[in-house]
Symmetry: C2
Subunit: 127 residues, 2 copies
């Protein structure tokens, strides 16, 4: 079993923003807790690769199980409809691989703690 | 000094998504680590209140220092340009209050850990 993780973001006309997501994928691939053989980024709109292309590339590199993580904070239409639609396209094109979507990152219960830590760190920087 | 925190999200046509951000603001307001007198949500587009309206409402409720947290994962144009523009509008309308923007939530270094925890939790649920 060769497992790939694909971090899916919206995609921005600001390339530096897309690069942030690519850097996160890179960071994840070398993270000590990482158990995936392959970690990459893909984008719903605007930036490359698209979700079907990103999934196809991971499969071409040898993955037979692909996990898609919607890197979104709330479950708007992109999370509830558009990403599942793109993943379904990929399933139709890659019948031999298992492709699953996990809950979007905003579901993580740590978000409130992180907000307060970010805001209070900045407090200290201000003083 | 009465301090308000405003969590700013993009805004969705899916009202359940906007409610997630409002619920986060509510959760923050009762969080034990919270030091703000007032926590609320505002939206860049589509949903209500807008950023200037949300800031004005917090000031009306008594805040004289308002912290705006962009609840975004990467620094696309919304974070780098649109939110600062809206905050500038609010500054023009509320000269007596201090209004500041802190870094967007995606800058938090914990994000990689949270991604891996979310993905591995789901692994266990699958088994």
């Amino acid at each position: 079993m060769k497992r790939a993780l694909i971090v899916v973001s919206h995609g921005s006309r600001r390339e530096a923003s897309n690069d942030e997501v690519r850097r996160l994928a890179q960071l994840l691939s070398t993270h000590q807790e990482n158990s995936f053989n392959d970690v990459s980024a893909a984008f719903l709109e605007i930036a490359e690769p698209s979700i079907p292309d990103g999934i196809a590339a991971a499969i071409e590199r040898g993955a037979n199980e692909v996990t898609v993580l919607p890197y979104f904070l709330s479950a708007g239409r992109h999370v509830t409809r558009d990403i599942p639609d793109e993943v379904d396209k990929a399933r139709g094109l890659n019948a031999d691989a298992v492709i699953r979507i996990v809950p979007y990152i905003g579901r993580a219960p740590e978000m409130a703690d992180i907000v307060l830590r970010m805001v209070s760190d900045t407090d200290h920087e201000d003083r």
